[in-house]
């Protein structure tokens, strides 16, 4: 009896432990940063002009693995471009860096190894980066997607909701049931904004279309993704999209069950020869090289990257992916026309009036929200089924 009680209390503890672990990403079991380069100590100058210059390395930290068909792979490709453009700079990479104080440790190590420029590429790497930045005023940080900046921390991102809107238009055209599904992780503004853009796009061509949104609580848990995909398909959805760091399982599950897909982060058309509609992609290489050049030249202060830089569809920082073989020519043509309108400014996806789920007007008639306002989205638009924690 005593044994039983002891055993089960340990089990309860272990269960709680695993909830903690899975809740905040993986332990940093394998960081792949290069061995320390033995760079000599560098004088710490805090003058604006020397900020970010004189380093022997550039550091990149990723929250996942570099070949996840997704977010991290896109950022990794950017780091490869930097490597090619600057053969003299050592590119230090660390994968699977959790969004905790562990990230600070990794960045400190990179600075010790000679990095004067660091790319923390995950949303949750922002706070650790701000902390490290305070201690190292001579190092420039380019954070991906952050809403906060400091003297030596700039953030960059892309208006990915533009191609997501266009993909929504395509999905609205392709769907027979008018029921679309969206698998997402946690309700942060980026995620809500994409779900909204997708839904507005779909409803621009099919006013009755709805998007069922399902939160999995994780950026990449294939088992739960498969559950979510199956559950949405059982519910009658015939187009699935997602905002997850990895997407193989969702795209494949949908393909197997004869459901169409809209991808995110990277092109996964090869995984779904029948059902692939299109996707929204990041194109970091040129931007990353430009950012490194700016910092290397001592031009960071006052540049467009000093603050919140947002690359657009017109800048080619975000892109609409290729269309699947089964998308009819007239749908492709229609979406391409919409894309042109978006590029020349005649189409504004979030032009008011935009209503939220309860019918309240969030963007008034005749109003156009700023990028800043959009990035603070804390609501889901009319036509989205699902709820966000209040």
């Amino acid at each position: 009896m005593k044994m039983k009680r002891r055993a089960s209390s340990v089990l309860l503890g272990a269960l709680a432990l695993i909830m903690l672990i899975t809740g905040c990403s993986q332990p940093g079991s394998n960081s792949s940063s290069s061995p320390s380069g033995g760079s000599s100590e560098t004088p710490s100058a805090s003058a604006d002009a020397s900020m970010g210059t004189g380093g022997s390395a550039v550091g990149f930290i990723f929250v996942g693995t570099k070949d996840d068909y997704g977010y991290n792979q896109a950022a990794y490709l950017g780091s490869v471009a930097v490597e090619e453009a600057y053969p003299d700079l050592k590119v230090l990479r660390a994968e699977n860096v959790p969004e905790t104080a562990e990230a600070e440790r990794v960045m400190e190590q990179m600075i010790k190894d000679g990095a004067k420029i660091i790319f923390p590429t995950s949303y949750g790497h922002l706070e650790p980066a701000l902390n490290v930045a305070k201690r190292h005023p001579d190092v420039v940080f380019f954070h991906q997607g952050g809403l906060k900046t400091s003297t030596n921390v700039g953030t960059y991102f892309g208006t990915i909701w533009e191609p997501v809107y266009l993909a929504g238009v395509a999905a609205g055209k392709m769907s027979k049931t008018g029921k679309l599904g969206y698998i997402v992780s946690v309700p942060i503004p980026q995620v809500l904004l994409n779900v909204n853009a997708f839904t507005l796009g779909a409803r621009s061509v099919n006013p009755d279309a709805t998007t069922s949104v399902v939160f999995t609580g994780s950026w990449c848990d294939p088992g739960q993704q498969a559950n979510a995909a199956n559950s949405l398909i059982d519910g009658g959805v015939d187009v699935l999209s997602l905002h997850q760091d990895c997407m193989k399982t969702v795209i494949e599950t949908a393909e197997r069950r004869g459901v169409m897909t809209v991808g995110y982060h990277a092109d996964a058309s090869s995984l779904a020869p029948n059902g692939w509609i299109t996707g929204s992609l990041w194109n970091w290489p040129e931007l990353f090289v430009e950012m490194v050049k700016t910092a290397q030249d001592g031009q960071f202060k006052g540049s467009k990257f000093d603050g919140k830089y947002r690359g657009t569809l017109a800048d080619n920082v975000v892109q609409l992916g290729s269309f699947g073989a089964n998308v009819p020519a007239d749908v492709v043509q229609y979406v391409e026309d919409q894309k042109k309108a978006l590029l020349d400014g005649t189409l504004l996806p979030f032009a008011g009036p935009v209503k939220d789920q309860s019918g309240g007007v969030r963007i008034a008639e005749g109003e156009t929200p700023t990028v800043e306002q959009l990035e603070g989205s804390d609501y889901l638009v009319e036509g989205v089924i699902g709820s966000i924690p209040k």
């Binding site: 039983k4 272990a14 269960l15 899975t22 079991s29 070949d67 068909y69 559950n227 399982t249 709820s387």
Partner: protein, 304 residues
């Protein structure tokens, strides 16, 4: 219809947990708690995926997955049975070891694609109204896992092997007296348990998700261990518990789609809360019988 969807989802997402819990049950019947089941599942998920990538044959993959699970469990067996290490501490260590070692060796497999196992609708049976789609439209490993349960029950409760297994977990001195080495029985039980957990992990990677991602079991192995207690060390109940966990996962996803104003964060907890609740209820029930020597290290006189 929603009920049918949830029940189908229960089997889909519960199968990997179910296989692992059957394995843990065998191990615990012989007196060894293996918290490293999570590690064995991860080993199975990666090993199964890798061999399926190399050979294109998911059956070989499943076998390799089982063997990888067994390999990881063998470390636990050695430390606990031969070195006399504490079972709970060792198990936790093995769990984290499994996470690390699979993350390390799995790096190259994240982008690989496989055909793997796919759902096969059984002719006639899958046409049965309501039950057909729930029970008879799954991948081959799922069918096998369902067949495993009565088989395991039979072996444990109706065969000589089963008597030896249970005796190892209850009264090892009796085994001694009949000339059987209890340590050997326990070794075999832990290895068999690791094998089943490995197959469970492989089901997740090569049948259900067709993907390998670091730490993809996300705690399913720990849930499996908890379920064994909920199940009072009985195979059919462990199966029920695993499907209950699967159903809770499917349920929370279905509830989200209905648009009720329930926070997803609360829903994420539901499967774990249900499992904890079930544990607590069983804890209070008299009928649950713990193998008497569970958790004790065999050292000739059963110190522990």
């Amino acid at each position: 219809m929603i009920l049918a969807d949830i029940l189908t989802g229960a089997i889909r997402s519960g199968t990997s947990v179910m296989l692992a819990s059957q394995g843990e049950l065998v191990s615990e019947r012989a007196g060894v708690i293996n918290l490293g089941t999570e590690g064995s599942m991860l080993g199975g998920a990666l090993g199964g995926f890798a061999v399926t990538v190399w050979t294109g044959n998911p059956w070989l993959g499943a076998l390799a997955g089982g063997l990888c699970g067994l390999l990881i469990a063998s470390i636990h067996a050695f430390l606990v049975l031969s070195c006399g290490a504490n079972q709970l501490a060792t198990g936790l260590t093995i769990m984290f070891f499994g996470m690390g070692v699979t993350a390390f060796f799995g790096r190259g497999f994240v982008s690989e694609q496989i055909v793997g196992f796919n759902p096969v609708a059984l002719p006639l049976l899958s046409d049965i109204p309501f039950l057909g789609p729930i029970l008879f439209n799954h991948d081959p490993l799922t069918y096998l896992s369902i067949l495993l349960v009565p088989l395991l029950w039979y072996v444990i409760f109706r065969t000589r092997i089963g008597i030896m297994l249970r005796t190892a977990g209850e009264r090892e001195e009796v085994l001694f007296a009949s000339g059987i080495n209890p340590k050997l029985v326990r070794y075999l039980a832990v290895l068999a348990g690791g094998f089943l957990a490995g197959i469970g992990g492989a089901q997740l990677s090569i049948a259900y998700t067709h993907a390998w991602v670091e730490n993809m079991t996300a705690g399913r192995g720990v849930v499996a261990v908890a379920l064994v207690i909920f199940a009072s060390w009985k195979p059919a109940r462990a199966m029920l518990g695993a499907y209950l966990f699967g159903a809770a996962q499917a349920l929370q996803l279905t509830v989200q789609q209905q648009g009720y104003a329930i926070s997803p964060f609360f829903l994420f907890m539901v499967p774990y809360l249900l499992t904890l609740l079930a544990l607590l209820i069983v804890e209070r029930r008299k009928s649950s019988r713990t193998p008497e020597a569970l958790g004790k290290v065999f050292a000739g006189e059963g110190s522990g």
